[in-house]
């Protein structure tokens, strides 16, 4: 094979790989990126029934209910005016409590109940999920 041909083949292989990876990434991002919703967002436009989303807000006062199995809890996430009921089975993070911020991962059921598969832990007293502080400073950082 001539050197020229070889370079061409290599460039072609690189191009195919890049395009393939790009297509794969783009299609996967379209389906699988989990969007962040507040109860207000859910009230405005319901997410697709099977889509994995993150729900963020405050745990409403006196809303935590323990079920008889000792593992399942139900609580309400609110953001001022709107409320979303949540159900979760498992061990909640240490700093999960009423009147405090929470981010839950899961799916919204057809009945409007959010079935959480994971409740995000806060790492310490000062930690707030980035979603709770609002993305403003991030956008600023990037724009500067």
């Amino acid at each position: 094979m001539k050197p020229k041909h070889q370079r061409l083949m290599l460039a072609l292989a690189a191009l195919v790989t890049v395009i393939g990876a790009g297509l794969l990434a783009a299609s996967a991002l379209g389906d699988r990126a989990a969007y962040f919703y507040s109860p207000a967002d859910i009230a405005k436009s319901r997410p697709e029934p099977d889509a994995a989303i993150r729900l963020g807000g405050m745990v409403a006062d006196k809303s935590i209910v323990h079920e008889a199995d000792g593992l399942t809890i139900r609580f309400v996430v609110e953001d001022g005016t709107f409320k979303t009921p949540v159900q979760f089975k498992g061990i909640v993070p240490d700093l999960f409590k009423e009147n405090s911020g929470v981010v839950a991962e899961g799916k919204l059921g057809a009945d409007g109940m959010f079935i959480a598969t994971n409740i995000l832990a806060k790492h310490d007293e000062n930690y707030k999920p980035p979603q709770m502080t609002g993305g403003e400073h991030k956008t600023e950082t990037l724009a500067k």
């Binding site: 094979m1 050197p3 070889q6 083949m9 290599l10 292989a13 690189a14 790989t17 890049v18 393939g20 990876a21 790009g22 794969l24 990434a25 996967a28 991002l29 389906d31 699988r32 990126a33 989990a34 969007y35 962040f36 994995a52 993150r54 323990h66 199995d69 000792g70 593992l71 089975k89 498992g90 061990i91 909640v92 240490d94 700093l95 832990a121 790492h123 310490d124 007293e125 930690y127 707030k128 999920p129 980035p130 979603q131 993305g135 400073h137 991030k138 956008t139 600023e140 950082t141 990037l142 724009a143 500067k144």
Partner: protein, 639 residues
């Protein structure tokens, strides 16, 4: 006094870095190679000064000097000494000082030990390394000074984040940093060789040990970090595709690709431009990682403080260094002579495929990690890209990568034939087919990824030892052994991941003391619950007895800990490792009726994940020793 001395040393080191850069550039420009020894001395002095500056910060932490703002904010006099020591880098300023120290020390090591590079290229390399240091010295001195005094001094410190109070903190960050920042040497080598137009096999042979060394640390750091997250967070997961993990994975992917392409350049004088490019990309990924983790743009256990100016500063440094290196690359690459030719079906061809696939995975991880940040910056919409994306995209590419990995070492350099390759692949293919059959019969419903993982692990295991076939084992060079063991490590790790994902058993219960529950092959009895106290925490500790057949019962004691400084609760999982897996128990909360939540996992062969990681690093280590021996032999004119 010590704080002022540390700051003074840091300023001096920064001044020397400036000198090293300016003098080095001048010497290269004027072609005065005989000045090499002066440049060498400056680099060594700079490395020593910054090391002493770092040691003074360590000393301040060990003495709990509360008149230093950083110590007061991140330490406490009642902490065990190990955490005072490791706490030095358990915060933003301290970890950046460690970063810069390794940058300086790596430059000093190159000045001390690098003997095979052409003098002009070595001077240019040291100047480039100094240029990198200057920016990070400026970052420390102007926006993250670790030695700032606190007046009046605090009565005592605020303590270290309890999640970081773990022996892992003493090893994981320094190891990872040695790898991360060690890649700066490859970057500087590439820049140096571009400046002096010295890209060739001799350059590649000189660069290879440095790349290998950084890669070993990076591999160990990622493996240790994964295990640390696994046992410390109490979630039982070993890889979360968290942006911080990706920040360490991206340099590893680029470095692994570089490690393979530098071999082509060293042995066959091919892939010149590509290898130089990868060296630049690999350290750029280290800087991207540092930016992601240290700018406060991500919120995690790793981002200690949020300060927008720091983010902008790091972003500017990133733009200058990556942009500068790329511009130099574009200017000079025309003058890099075309390397040797090779056939598509050849060892080189397989290594090119390896490089393309590693780059594709790198690109996919890069996009997935930065996409949410980009979307939020542009539209303000918040989203997260998690395991579903990464598994769906990297999975198929890894499949191809594994096929290349099995066939590559079986190919000859320069030219080979398809027919012969197919013959040599017969046995690995047979093993894959047999494991496929066994899996279909034994475990038909474990999911696609675990299925493929187990199947391919068998193939890799056979494929990786195949290069030893028909060789005299005692005369096989050490670096061939290194490759075999590293590739075998991939098989072991992959088998661990697949087995854990496919065969995990989980039991989540609310139990009273005295109850017994099953998880996997174990019957676990909750025998008691009592308070215990440590040096700076109190805890509730459950005692659980795990019985399996007639074996001696295992005693596991998970805790729910309450730390005093700062007041925080953590879960300490109890893990017991047996030959065929791990039993992982977490004590949860007490529910209103008085029962305790217990989460129990049986994870078959999960420890193979980290065992494989350690084998990969060991393979790198053997290859490094093998190379040194070979070079020494060359020096004596034996080889």
């Amino acid at each position: 006094m010590i704080a002022e001395a540390g700051l003074g040393l840091l300023w001096l080191a920064a001044a020397l870095a400036l000198l090293q850069f300016a003098f080095g550039s001048m010497v290269v420009a004027k072609g005065r190679d005989q000045q090499l020894s002066s440049v060498r001395s400056i680099a060594i002095a700079q490395g020593l000064l910054v090391t002493f500056s770092f040691l003074s910060l360590v000393w301040l932490f060990l003495r709990s000097d509360m008149s230093v703002a950083l110590v007061a904010a991140n330490s406490h006099s009642a902490k065990p000494w190990l955490y005072k020591f490791a706490g030095t880098w358990g915060n933003h300023e301290g970890s950046m000082l460690l970063w810069v120290m390794i940058l300086g020390a790596a430059g000093a090591a190159v000045a001390l030990f690098e003997r095979s590079l052409k003098p002009a290229t070595l001077i240019a390399t040291l100047a480039a390394q100094a240029a990198l240091s200057i920016g990070f010295y400026a970052f420390l001195l102007f926006s993250s000074n670790p030695f700032t005094r606190l007046t009046p001094a605090a009565a005592d410190g605020q303590g270290l984040n309890p999640l970081l109070q773990d022996p892992g903190l003493a090893f994981h960050p320094p190891t990872l940093y040695f790898g991360y920042v060690g890649m700066s040497v490859a970057f500087s080598f590439a820049v140096g060789a571009l400046v002096t137009r010295d890209v060739g096999p001799a350059f590649a042979r000189a660069m290879r040990p440095w790349v290998l060394g950084a890669w070993i640390f990076l591999t160990l750091g990622i493996t240790a970090g994964s295990y640390w997250a696994y046992y410390e967070l109490g979630w039982g997961g070993w890889w979360f595709w968290d942006p911080v993990e990706n920040a360490s994975l991206m340099p590893w992917l680029a470095t692994t690709a570089l490690l393979h392409s530098v071999t082509v350049l060293a042995t066959r004088d091919g892939l010149r431009a590509w290898t130089v490019m990868l060296a630049v990309v690999a350290f750029s990924m280290s800087m991207v990682g540092t930016f992601l983790v240290r700018s406060g743009i991500l919120t995690s256990v790793h981002s200690f403080a949020v300060d927008p100016t720091r983010g902008s500063f790091l972003l500017a440094l990133l733009a200058i260094y990556v942009g500068g290196a790329m511009a130099l690359f574009a200017l000079r690459i025309g003058t890099v002579r075309e390397g040797n030719q090779f056939d598509l079906v050849s060892r080189e061809g397989a290594l090119v495929a390896n490089n393309l696939l590693f780059s594709a995975i790198l690109g996919i991880v890069f996009v997935g990690t930065l996409y949410p940040l980009g979307v939020e910056a542009v539209t303000g919409e918040k989203l997260s890209v998690g395991p579903p994306y990464f598994n769906a995209t990297t999975g198929p590419i890894t499949l191809f990568l594994v096929m290349v990995m099995i066939s590559g070492p079986l190919l000859r350099w320069r030219q080979d034939r398809w027919k012969l390759l197919v013959q040599r692949l017969a046995i690995p293919t047979l093993v894959v087919a047999i494991s496929l059959l066994a899996l279909v019969l034994a475990a038909p419903d474990i999911g696609v990824l675990p299925f493929l993982g187990l199947m391919l692990a068998g193939g890799i295991a056979i494929g990786s030892v195949a290069p030893l076939w028909g060789r005299n084992l005692r005369r096989t060079p050490l670096f061939t052994w290194g490759m075999v063991i590293a590739h075998l490590g991939v098989a072991v790790s992959l088998a661990g991941m697949a087995s854990e994902t496919g065969f995990i058993k989980e039991t989540l219960v609310a139990a009273n003391v005295g109850e017994t529950h099953n998880v996997g092959p174990y019957r676990v009895t909750f025998s008691k619950l009592e308070p215990v106290a440590g040096p700076n925490w109190t805890a509730l500790e459950a005692t659980l007895e795990a019985r399996r057949g007639t074996r001696q019962p295992l005693i596991l004691k998970p805790q729910s800990r309450m730390f005093s400084n700062p007041p925080t609760e953590t879960n300490e999982a109890a893990i017991d490792t047996v030959l065929d897996g791990q039993l992982y128990l977490v004590l949860g909360k007490q529910e209103p009726t008085g029962r305790w939540q217990l989460r129990m996992w049986w994870k078959p062969f999960v420890s193979f994940i980290w065992l494989g990681g350690a084998m990969i690093a060991l393979g790198g280590f053997l290859a490094l020793i093998g190379r040194f021996r070979r070079e020494k032999g060359r020096g004596r004119g034996i080889a």
